[in-house]
């Protein structure tokens, strides 16, 4: 059924292209006799910059024909704060709070990727305990971000109640974060060579209790959202992407893995203690909206597995590398650190000229790369589908615009 619809749509497009301007004029002035010649005018809808489901400040022009979007012209930059320039005027440590403000749904992984790049630049070894804590908070962050994704995916499809359930679960993670680093959204927790402070007493037990509870609840939530017939009808088969397309458009993270490409930085370029932890890289093969949504739910389960193992394995010891001066001055050189953030491959490319400030910090935001594929992915689908496709790409505009 879907195939027939698409080909009809193609026909429509082609026949419209073949009409001469005069014919179009005639059609618009109502001087046509048979209904087959009626041409509807294309409508340009401005989606955003403020729109309930624009995920931030995103402006796009949708050219629609009836309900079908024929062309999308994205326009970004509304949240551009030029962090890369700011980084050149801050010391290495001072830039960490700024990374919080890029992907503000997943600040912890931003901190981590930046610190990893600087550690690679300066050749710093991170203590074991700090690495474990990083893995725990990083995976908690992935869960939190995916919970936000699931809630917004539901609410964009019109289900407003799951939205609250997922946010309620996320509150648990935010409270854990408040306990360990004192903030609920902009953590500024990971430091060059370790973490800011050790986990307080009982925190690891709280975390374990939380993930155990979440594991039970995810079963219900999956049935409520992803298993729902209407949800499936809205998501399955919409905006599919093949592996070749996904690679060509530079997708990373869940959107890429949903097409069958098993690219996960935790496996393909292992960092921290991930090689010692057992987990599966979730891969789906259809690459449609439903796969992009399901992959996140499955990754939550894998993250829970990782957290359980990391809590089991965590050694005692210091949480910060020794001998890092307050005014940190790495030798001239380059460093590239990347982590698998909830959105994809998040990389920081830091160039030092031997002073206290980085010479250049390049931020490779996965949302930027993923958002780029939106027009290719969703042209020819319905207005409602474009909104969902934007949602399943899960861009955060703090990171897209930086």
């Amino acid at each position: 059924m879907g195939l027939i619809k698409m080909s009809k749509l193609e026909e429509m497009k082609i026949s419209n292209h073949n009409l001469s301007e005069l014919e179009k004029d005639l059609a618009l002035n109502g001087e046509v006799e048979s209904t087959e010649d009626i041409v509807t005018e294309e409508l340009a809808i401005h989606f955003g910059p403020q729109h309930p489901s624009a995920h931030g400040v995103f402006h796009a022009i949708f050219h629609v024909k009836g309900e079908v979007v024929t062309k999308i012209e994205p326009d970004i930059g509304y949240l551009h704060r030029c962090f890369e320039k700011i980084a050149e005027n801050r010391t290495y440590t001072q830039f960490i709070p700024y990374t919080d403000r890029m992907d503000y749904v997943a600040s912890m992984t931003n901190n981590w990727a930046y610190c990893m790049a600087v550690e690679k630049l300066a050749g710093i070894e991170v203590p074991e305990r700090a690495e474990h804590i990083r893995v725990i908070v990083g995976e908690l962050q992935r869960i939190a971000s995916h919970l936000v994704f699931l809630s917004t995916a539901g609410s964009e499809a019109g289900a407003l109640t799951p939205f609250v359930y997922f946010f309620d679960e996320r509150e648990g993670i935010l409270t854990l974060y408040e306990k360990i680093c004192g903030a609920r959204l902009t953590y500024n927790y990971i430091r060059i060579g370790g973490v800011r402070a050790d986990a307080p007493e009982g925190w690891l037990d709280d975390t374990l209790a939380f993930v155990t509870r979440l594991k039970k609840r995810m079963y219900d939530y999956d049935r409520l959202v992803l298993g729902n017939y209407i949800f499936k009808k809205r998501f399955i088969g919409v905006a599919p992407f093949s592996a070749e397309q996904a690679l060509d458009w530079g997708l990373t993270g869940p959107p890429l893995r949903s097409t069958g490409v098993s690219y996960d930085v935790r496996r393909s370029d292992p960092y921290s203690v991930y090689p010692r932890l057992e987990f599966d890289v979730v891969v789906k093969y259809k690459g449609d909206n439903y796969d992009r949504a399901c992959i996140r739910s499955d990754e939550i389960k894998q993250s829970i597995r990782i957290i359980e193992q990391a809590i089991e394995q965590i050694p005692e010891g210091p949480v910060k590398a020794d001998g890092i001066a307050k005014v940190f001055k790495p030798a001239a050189g380059e460093g590239y650190g990347h982590v698998e953030s909830p959105k994809g491959d998040l990389g920081f490319y830091v160039v030092s000229d031997g002073t206290t400030k980085p010479y250049r910090v390049k931020i490779q935001g996965p949302s930027f790369g993923n958002l780029q594929a939106l027009p290719a992915m969703s042209e020819g689908t319905y207005i409602g589908d474009v909104v969902l496709t934007l949602g399943t790409l899960d861009p955060v505009f703090g990171e897209v615009d930086r």
Binding site: C82, N89, G250, Y263, Y336, V351
Partner: protein
């Protein structure tokens, strides 16, 4: 891909004739080429299985802008990612666009054009991406100054603006918001000194 596999990689590999990737501290495998050879090298990399384009970054040096591309391979067994480096002189910052090879390069190249002014030949739609189309200058260059911008802040700057209006060529408001944020920044202070040679007394 297991852990050992990555540990056992060699230090360099010849991708195709004359194109050799070497390991560099901090950033992994690197391939440095002249800008004329960029497209050829990139094609060779694509042939060799590097099918995922991750980013392009500019770095501003006094004489030139260094470009660093990162590509990843979903097919290869080892040496999965390569940094491709090239350099363009500031007098003529043009380089071949890689959009024909990877569609993903589109926005990344637009970003580099926007912030560094590097012109990518053969790019289908080379416009500014973050900044407004009528923006002046390329902000990530080290010699960029936003003195031509008007800064609105609590009326104090209005006076500055009025002063700047009187003598638009000579005195621009020197104290931008960026400088207030980071007074210890050396290059900006140097800029400010240069400007203040004409009419520093008009401000404040």
């Amino acid at each position: 891909m297991s852990d050992e596999n990555i540990m056992n990689q060699g230090n360099s590999e010849e991708i195709s004739a004359g194109i050799k990737i070497v390991e560099e501290k901090g950033i992994g495998y690197t391939l440095t080429v002249e800008r004329e050879d960029l497209f050829k090298a990139a094609s060779a990399l694509k042939e060799a299985g590097f099918d995922l384009f991750l980013f392009v970054s500019g770095i501003d040096y006094p004489e030139s802008i260094k470009l660093t591309y990162r590509v990843y391979s979903s097919k290869r067994q080892n040496k999965l990612a390569v940094m491709l480096k090239t350099e363009v002189p500031k007098s003529d910052p043009t380089v071949d666009s890689l959009v024909p090879l990877w569609s993903a390069a589109n926005w990344h190249e637009r970003e580099t054009y926007d912030l560094y002014g590097v012109i990518f030949k053969g790019h289908p739609d080379l416009r500014r991406i973050f900044l407004p189309q009528d923006w002046v200058g390329y902000p990530l260059r080290k010699d960029y100054s936003d003195d031509h911008m008007t800064v609105m802040d609590d009326g104090k700057k209005d006076k500055d603006k009025a002063a700047a209006k009187d003598k638009p060529a000579a005195a621009a408001p020197k104290e931008s918001a960026e400088k207030q944020d980071a007074p210890e920044q050396p290059s900006d202070i140097a800029d400010a000194n240069e400007v203040s040679t004409n009419g520093s007394d008009k401000n404040e």
